[in-house]
């Protein structure tokens, strides 16, 4: 029989392993999940260990401005309360909750930092999953929100979003002071992804406490850019670039902004089913290009992502 040459890449680097959440033994009150640790390209068992943990986070908002109709419909009444919504995600098998404190946006409802911290505390009490917390995207307010949330959740090892090149110090400080990890966000560029990790670590955040978010553009809306940027980041990390050897988070919910997800398209089936595949396809592209944590909006898209991970031989 012909001998096929083994085309194994000789990687010198590996992705750092990171634990999120904290059990009672560690002083927290929730389950933990360990991500990262890869020594090869995604899902290639001949060049990496056989199994690999990908954490699937269910997206929850404390305000409904940005929540698509189809997602409101599937969760029903639960979307009106972050606690019920998070519980619903746990029942549907999410590994993590990704909580967006959109209510704090000063241009909309302008909820106080105190009430935001209360929301986080209530979700933590009701659901024992590791938690990702974002503000509303309003830079100045987010700085205050994260400070408060970080304090209130001290010892629970949350993942705080998001530190950007223009303003990373407050999130970084909130993380460092209270033992949380932080998300370093960059806009579709490998050099910017590296830059934010450098800024965070120079500021004092441990490399073991950084997750990068290189921006996952959705199917049909620039997915090819993200796919290639992610892939380049992962290859550079495995080839030895220390500043990129951190886990990667990909938020797949921008898929819900595509026209094909909300509008009728002739000959393209039921919009509801197409929408699930739109987010699911975005998730699969994220997985194959290097994602360690996926944020998902629709439970059926999470089911697809889970099927993909187990089908590819990873641990979901």
């Amino acid at each position: 029989m012909a001998e096929v040459p083994v085309p194994k890449e000789k990687w010198t680097g590996s992705i750092g392993e990171m634990e999120l959440g904290c059990t009672e033994a560690g002083g927290g009150s929730r389950a933990t999940v360990t991500v990262g640790g890869n020594k090869g390209l995604p899902f290639l068992s001949f060049e990496d260990g056989p199994r690999r943990k990908i954490a699937l986070a269910g997206s929850v908002s404390d305000s409904l401005e940005d929540v698509p109709q189809a997602i409101r419909a599937v969760f029903g009444e639960d979307v009106n309360d972050a606690v019920s919504w998070a519980k619903a995600w746990k029942a549907k098998g999410a590994d993590m909750i990704c909580l967006h404190l959109t209510s704090t946006n000063p241009e909309e409802r302008n909820a106080s930092t105190e009430s935001a911290a209360d929301t986080v505390a209530a979700v933590m009490k009701a659901v024992d999953l590791p938690l990702i917390v974002y503000g509303s995207g309003h830079e100045e307010k987010d700085a205050k929100v994260m400070e408060k949330v970080g304090e209130r959740a001290k010892g629970e090892r949350l993942l705080l979003g998001k530190a950007e090149e223009g303003g990373y110090k407050s999130v970084a400080a909130a993380g460092m002071a209270n033992g949380h990890a932080v998300i370093g966000f960059s806009n579709l560029d490998i050099n910017l992804a590296k830059q934010i990790v450098i800024l965070l670590t120079d500021y004092g955040v441990g490399k073991k406490d950084v997750v990068i978010d290189p921006l996952m553009a959705a199917l049909g809306m620039g997915l090819e850019y993200s796919y290639s940027v992610n892939e380049r980041i992962r290859i550079a990390a495995l080839a030895g670039d220390a500043m990129l050897q951190v886990p990667m988070i990909c938020d797949c919910t921008p898929a819900w902004k595509a026209r094909e997800v909300t509008d009728e398209v002739p000959n393209a089936g039921e919009t509801a089913e197409r929408a699930i595949w739109w987010e699911g396809t975005t998730a699969l592209a994220a997985l194959l290009s290097g994602a360690d944590i996926l944020v998902l909006g629709h439970p059926d898209a999470m089911t697809l992502a889970r099927k993909a991970i187990s089908g590819l031989g990873g641990e979901d």
Binding site: M1, A2, E3, V4, P5, V6, P7, F43, L44, S45, F46, D66, E107, G137, A217, L219, G220, M221, G222, L223, E224, Y225, Y227, S228, E231, R232, I235, K257, E260, V265, N267, A268, G269, E270, E273, R274, W277, W278, G280, T281, L284, A285, L288, L304, K307, A308, G311, L312, G313
Partner: protein, 442 residues
């Protein structure tokens, strides 16, 4: 690809210059960089030509299925990662029909196949092939079925049958169309290769073991068939990803000729099957064959293929035009952006989010973003005015307001002079659009 020195060894070393290069070594260097052709050398010996032709052949063979205008090209890929250059031949999609179907069922399925056709950012997305499968085990029946499928469609065909004599009868009917034959395995490779050779058709080789697959390649080539396609027969997504990766890497990285061919995969009609197909679009599948391809899954699959096979050097461009967003009337403002798809989609979704009616004017900037096209001199006041005239924008709205990207605020005066419209400087980032539009309205 051999190095210049390896190539030089086979050249006549006359330094005659007839190839337009001063020396044979210079010619060798051009060859090594794919900048010259072997035929440019008039004195190359046959032995030298053979040695070089085989070693300079592309790592993955180009295989063409179909004839005339209706062809599908597969293979001839040179990269493992699209960011290194690009992927060339988009994964072809085939829908399977079989000879136990009634005429009615067949008509319906072909109708479904035809319906899977969409237009998106100026490109047509569609199914590429029909695969006709023999389930009856009856040579006459299969041949007449293939005949009727061929008469009903122009698509390039795949014929699927394990029995060489049945295949032979069916190929005879459509060999002008140069169908792809599926396929040969260890039990029938000799016979099937003879059929393929007789009809000059490409042949799929099937084995779940890649070493045996390379053996089959050797056997088929001995029988004189060079246009081959590999079916690594994965049962799971994991097997699919790993086998496709090993095939692609061994061909590209190791120039291993035994597996240097396009990949065929038949994916099951389940969610996992569709996930396998999506994976294969990203990771090295050349032809995917479906028993079923539901419409709601076909569009995401085709859009993924469009995304992945985009040339990273040539951004997807949106047609320059005036687009109504949120049902604008004559009192809505015009807002312009560039035709770079990513910019357009971001701006569009942010305007939609604002729920404020706007006429969105897309300017042809050759696919560059706002700041880049401005710096490159593609986004000028004249270009904007020309686009507004071409789309009749100023007749569709009487408001007389043009909102411009904050990044190019310095264009305001020139734009006002060129268009005669009142210029309002919008936000620098698209994400500021909803707030901006709402405040403008209120």
């Amino acid at each position: 690809m051999p190095t210049a020195i390896e190539i030089f060894k086979h050249l006549p070393k006359k330094n005659c210059g007839e190839c337009k290069n001063p020396t044979c070594l210079a010619f060798a260097m051009q060859l090594a960089n794919n900048k010259a052709k072997l035929d440019d050398c008039p004195y190359l010996s046959d032995a030298g030509r053979n040695a070089l032709a085989s070693s300079s052949a592309p790592p993955i063979r180009l295989v063409r299925v179909g004839s005339g205008k209706n062809v599908v090209d597969m293979g001839d890929e040179t990269e493992l990662y699209r960011h290194d250059k690009r992927f060339f031949h988009p994964t072809a999609l085939a829908l399977r029909v079989n000879d136990m179907m009634s005429a009615d069922e067949l008509g319906k399925k072909l109708g479904h196949a035809r319906s899977l056709r969409f237009e998106r950012v100026g490109q047509v997305l569609k199914l590429d092939m029909i695969e006709a499968e023999c389930r009856s085990g009856d040579a006459t029946k299969f041949a007449s079925f293939v005949q009727s499928v061929a008469s009903m469609t122009d698509w390039p065909l795949v014929l699927r049958c394990k029995d060489a004599s049945i295949m032979n009868a069916a190929v005879a009917v459509v060999k002008d169309r140069r169908p792809l034959l599926h396929g040969a395995d260890e039990s029938n490779v000799k016979e099937m290769a003879a059929v393929a050779k007789g009809a000059s058709c490409p042949l799929v080789l099937c084995s779940a073991d890649l070493g045996r697959l390379a053996d089959l390649v050797e056997m088929a080539r001995k029988e004189g068939v060079e246009d081959l396609v590999l079916d690594p027969m994965p049962a799971t997504m994991k097997e699919s990803l790993e086998r496709c990766t090993v095939i692609r890497r061994s061909a590209i990285r190791k120039t291993f000729r035994g597996l240097g061919f396009p990949i065929y995969l038949s994916t099951p009609a389940t969610q996992e099957g569709t996930l396998m197909a999506l994976t294969a679009v990203m990771k090295y599948g050349s032809l995917l064959s479906f028993d079923e391809l539901p419409s709601a899954q076909a569009l995401p699959l085709m859009v993924l293929r469009q995304n992945i096979y985009t040339d990273p050097q040539v951004p997807i461009q949106v047609k320059a035009d005036l687009y109504p967003v949120n049902n604008p009337g004559p009192d809505a403002p015009i807002l312009f952006t560039t035709n770079f798809s990513l910019t357009y989609f971001t701006v569009l979704s942010d305007i939609e989010k604002s729920k404020v009616p706007v006429w969105l004017q897309v300017i042809d900037t050759e696919g560059l973003s706002v700041l880049t096209s401005y710096s490159a001199g593609k986004l000028t006041a004249e270009a904007v005015q020309k686009a507004l005239l071409a789309s009749n924008a100023k007749e569709r709205t009487t408001k007389g307001v043009l909102i411009i990207p904050g990044m190019v605020a310095r264009m305001s005066v020139k734009l006002n002079e060129a268009t005669g419209l009142k210029i309002v400087v919008g936000p620098k980032e698209s994400s500021g659009i909803p707030k901006f539009l709402r405040s403008m309205n209120g």
